[in-house]
């Protein structure tokens, strides 16, 4: 589009320094520039609700309902945040979410990595059955079997407990299949050389295969963490005590408690949103890679 302005055509002064060619705005660039502007406006509109939620949470309550609405707060007031931190178990919910999401992430990576390694590298009876069984899991919507899952977890006495919350979320066929794909690509000579040297399979997995696949491990880890953090349905069903809720479930409980208090409601929403937003912004490339790896399977 703007090939005439690429840096390769910058003229040199006799002293050897580069001078930028003065930019000329050509008329045929106008439609392109307009489309770019439209794109930017659309992107801004897309995240605007989030900005609006944040801005509402730092306004005093009577300004939140001001008409006309104020785009920038006339006065900044953090009392909504101090209120919810003092008057709701939100800190407890944060802890619950952090502990359960981290546990799920670590366990999913570990268990799926081990299983995928065996599927990829070891020949054993029933291997093909197991792999097809895992693939079949993709077609099964776990939501349809909520009732028997709940009955089963109840029988195990794990309702309203961390184990009841975490264990069902470890059944992640996706991670196994992704890992297997990546492990299949490791050249056989690497593993064979290590085995000849007497390394056990566990050793080969953790000292060779894992270090070679740090990238996908990080990607899978991040998206597993985000998914575990955001999980609503199962934590909602399995946990009864308010103290034991995870954040996504917890913030639905406070809506009615505060009544009509928009700043406070938005403050809880913002607080609940911060971890996954941060995780995404920091690990954007990893999240992208993870999303694409898991979607490419189905």
């Amino acid at each position: 589009m703007t090939t005439s302005q690429t840096t390769s055509s910058l003229p040199h002064t006799p002293a050897g320094a580069l001078t930028a060619r003065p930019r000329r705005f050509r008329l045929e660039q106008l439609p392109g520039a307009l489309i770019t502007l439209l794109t930017l406006l659309l992107a801004g509109a897309w995240v605007f609700p989030l900005y609006w939620a944040f801005v509402t949470s730092i306004k005093p309550e009577n300004e939140t309902i001001a008409n006309p609405p104020t785009l920038v707060p006339q006065s900044v007031d953090f009392s909504a945040y101090s209120y919810i931190f003092q008057n709701s178990p939100i800190v407890r919910w944060y802890l619950n979410s952090i502990v359960s999401s981290l546990t799920i992430t670590v366990l999913v990576l570990l268990l799926c990595m081990m299983c995928a390694y065996a599927l990829s590298q070891i020949d054993f009876r029933g291997k093909r059955w197991l792999f097809w069984l895992i693939l079949a899991g993709f077609m099964i919507p776990f939501q349809a079997s909520l009732i028997p899952l709940f009955i089963f977890v109840n029988k195990l006495g794990m309702v309203n407990s961390y184990s009841g919350l975490i264990l069902p979320q470890l059944a992640a066929p996706l991670a196994v299949v992704v890992y297997k794909q990546f492990f299949d690509q490791i050249p056989a000579e690497l593993a064979d050389a290590a085995r000849i040297d007497g390394a056990s399979e566990f050793r080969v997995l953790f000292s060779i295969f894992l270090p070679l696949n740090i990238g996908i491990t990080l990607s899978l880890g991040i998206i597993t963490f985000i998914a575990a953090w955001n999980n609503f349905l199962w934590p909602f069903i399995v946990m009864n005590d308010t103290e034991k809720l995870t954040i996504p479930v917890g913030i639905t409980q406070v809506q009615s408690a505060y009544g009509v208090a928009y700043a406070k409601t938005m403050a809880t929403a913002v607080t609940a949103a911060v971890p996954t937003i941060l995780a995404y912004l920091i690990f954007q490339r990893r999240v992208t890679e993870g999303v694409m790896a898991t979607a490419g399977l189905k």
Partner: protein
């Protein structure tokens, strides 16, 4: 790769080789067992059990007697079930194709950008990493009938999530806002995967703009497009969270979808067997529709 011993030599298996095979299977078992046990217990077993439960009149403790196909005949005669099915299908219509087309359109816009590309991509994807309750809280506030931004700016008085006409479209809109980033990402990857040489060759032949899109972009993009359509279809069939949080299935069951109906019957009315039947219907519907869609969409691919 650890090979199993070739058949011809199996009869003369030395004790060494047998011990080796035993060790190999033991190691495989240790590696595979933790995941497989959990997978069998918490995914496979409940799936089998829901089919079994659907033929009983059990409550929420699993205790109940077999009652044949009574749950299913009741299902077919129950108007609420048909309402839920219809609402689910309408919801799918309101989300699957618009979400996919929007994702494609945005991908085409995003790929024109150079320095701003990642920023714009992040803007559209950001909602996707939010928990559903944050999404519903935010949109409950924006679409609040009295003080919400939208109603104050447009002067509308519609109570969006309680309006019999607007509730379902409103939830569909929120769903699209929440999830379009995922489609966008896949489309960007798909579009970037089309070799630029194909475009160069075509534009040398004089093709441009819409012609290029129709003859080159669309066919090459078709595998990604059909994948996204399939993923969307399955996902929206299973819709629950947003509807539960925004409308509870109301008003007057106008937004009641299949899974919400199953939840209501099972966890609120304690009709475990009947709710399981609904779950089985949902599973079968997803399987059938996925199979049909794969068939239909792949035929277009070969053409």
């Amino acid at each position: 790769m650890l090979q199993s011993v070739p058949t011809a030599q199996r009869d003369v298996l030395s004790p060494e080789k047998r011990a080796q095979a035993r060790r190999r299977h033991l190691v495989a078992l240790m590696l595979v067992a933790p995941f497989t046990v959990i997978y069998l217990l918490f995914l496979i077993y409940p799936t089998l059990r829901v089919i079994q439960l659907s033929f009983t009149n059990s409550d929420l403790t699993g205790a109940g007697a077999y009652n044949g196909v009574q749950n299913y005949t009741r299902l077919l005669r129950e108007p609420t079930f048909w309402t839920a099915l219809r609402n689910t299908l309408v919801f799918i219509l309101l989300t699957v194709v618009p979400n996919t087309m929007l994702g494609l359109g945005l991908a085409l816009l995003v790929l024109r950008l150079k320095r701003l590309k990642n920023l714009v991509l992040a803007a559209f994807f950001l909602p996707y990493v939010l928990p559903v309750s944050v999404v519903t809280n935010v949109w409950n506030w924006v679409l609040d009938s009295n003080f919400g931004l939208f109603n104050t700016l447009t002067g509308s008085t519609i109570t969006w999530f309680q309006d019999p006409v607007w509730a379902l479209p409103a939830v569909a809109f929120v769903t699209v806002w929440w999830t379009v980033g995922f489609n966008l990402l896949l489309f960007v990857a798909g579009l970037q995967g089309i070799a630029p040489e194909i475009y160069e060759a075509a534009s040398l032949d004089g093709a441009s703009g819409w012609r290029l899109f129709r003859s080159i972009t669309w066919p090459n993009l078709w595998p990604v497009t059909s994948l996204i359509l399939l993923l969307q279809l399955v996902a929206q069939f299973k819709i629950f969270d947003q509807i539960y949080l925004l409308t509870q299935g109301g008003p007057f069951d106008k937004t009641l979808v299949l899974l919400l109906y199953a939840y209501r019957e099972g966890f609120q009315q304690q009709h475990g067997g009947y709710a399981s039947a609904i779950g089985v219907v949902l599973m079968v519907a997803i399987l059938v529709v996925s199979a049909i869609q794969i068939r239909v969409l792949n035929r277009g691919d070969r053409a």
